[in-house]
Amino acid sequence: MAMEGDAQAYQHFLVAVTPHLRVLARRRCAEFGASASEAEDVVQEVLLAVHLKRGTWDTARPIGPWLAAIVRNRLIDSLRRRGRRTNVPIEDVAATLAADEQTDEGDERLSAETLLARLKEPQRDIVRSISLEGAGVRETAQRLKMSEGAVRVTLHRALKTLAAFYRSDNHENR
């Protein structure tokens, strides 16, 4: 399915899992006095970790414990970087992932906007084209006069760069 590179199946998976991550992130952020907008940053950071590390999921095993461990790891790290010592019990993460609470969509991400601005060309163009304008890889390649392969590689690098931005300094200027 999604692990074979089926973009649609993969998108379904990400869309399905995001509300759970959001509930979890908001609850944790509220507990540690962080704002709801920070919670959405945490959600995006966790999603990026899931994306970049999905090669470590052993497809012969259930995905639940893997996902719970990734979320727990990122959540702790992310909240700690925001200056709050914490510790998230894994049962808690697993329970919330299992429950199917729903909340409304997140709002515009200001800090993520500045992140985007910090990407170098052609990463920024490609990210804009696909995320904001909703173009596919092929369309983007035609528009930027690049090969599809180059667009794919650059997109992957851009996602890595975004994850690195989250891990480094983007929260000091709040």
């Binding site: 999604a2 692990m3 590179g5 089926d6 973009a7 649609q8 993969y10 998108q11 990400l14 869309v15 995001t18 959001r22 959405e40 959600v43 995006q44 999603l47 990026l48 970790a49 994306h51 590390k53 999905r54 090669g55 470590t56 999921w57 052993d58 095993r61 414990p65 893997w66 996902l67 719970a68 461990a69 990734i70 790891n73 969509e105 997140g106 709002d107 515009e108 991400r109 993520a112 906007e113 992140l115 985007l116 990210v127 696909i130 995320s131 904001l132 909703g134 596919g136 890889v137 794919r152 997109l155 992957h156 851009a158 996602l159």
Partner: protein, 211 residues
């Protein structure tokens, strides 16, 4: 960027590029071959290996180090995966430990007490303690590179596991050269080398394997 826009980006990047199982396997093969090549190109295999293998001590040394290497390398495949439990695989490491204990007991029983020290020191203890970590360097580097792509829950632990597996491989390779065959020597000097490499792996992991 809104979260659903980020998801769209990630969906367009759907194909999985690095699968950790494959990476760890390639590190295992490359690291083992590198250690083997280093041994063959430097000190080589002991000349009388064929005969030596017929003695119980040599047979035990070769089998024991190989068993340890295999069981320790298995851990590497688990430690890079979030949420995977190491407990069962780590417990298996008790097997070579118990075997070693039994061999030491047998050796102490077979030897007169005034010979213990001579067998423990062997002929080249210093070379063993230096050369085994040297042989372990390349496998350790290979495992760390593979784990760098992975997502270990505990970076220090992951580095230590990489060090343990690398010293297992190095020991199994060095055993074909080493002419000190007593379990007393094995436990002491190979043991020191294993501790050194594992500690090195732990420190390297803490620095390098955070994600």
């Amino acid at each position: 960027m809104k979260t659903d826009e980020l998801i769209r980006l990630m969906a367009e990047d759907a194909p999985v590029r690095v699968r950790f199982g494959r990476q760890a396997f390639m590190a295992l093969v490359a690291g083992t071959l590198a250690a083997l090549a280093l041994l063959l190109l430097s000190v080589g295999i002991r000349p009388n290996l064929g005969q030596a293998l017929e003695t119980a001590r040599v047979l035990f040394k070769v089998a024991e180090t190989l068993l340890f290497a295999i069981l320790a390398a298995r851990l590497v495949f688990l430690v890079g995966r979030p949420g995977a439990s190491l407990k069962a695989a780590a417990t298996m490491l008790l097997l070579p430990l118990v075997l070693l204990g039994a061999a030491i007991a047998a050796e102490l029983f077979a030897l007169p007490p005034d010979a213990w020290r001579r067998y423990l020191m062997g002929s080249h203890p210093v070379f063993c303690v230096v050369f085994v970590p040297l042989l372990a360097l390349l496998p350790l580097a290979a495992f760390l590179i593979a784990l760098k792509q992975a997502a270990p829950d505990d970076p220090g632990m992951a580095g230590a596991v990489a060090g343990l597996a690398a010293s297992g491989i190095a020991s199994a390779v060095y055993a074909w050269h080493c002419q000190d065959d007593s379990p007393l020597f094995l436990a002491t000097w190979y043991g020191v080398a294993t501790v050194v490499v594992t500690a090195t792996g732990y420190m390297a992991g803490r620095r390098l394997l955070r994600w």
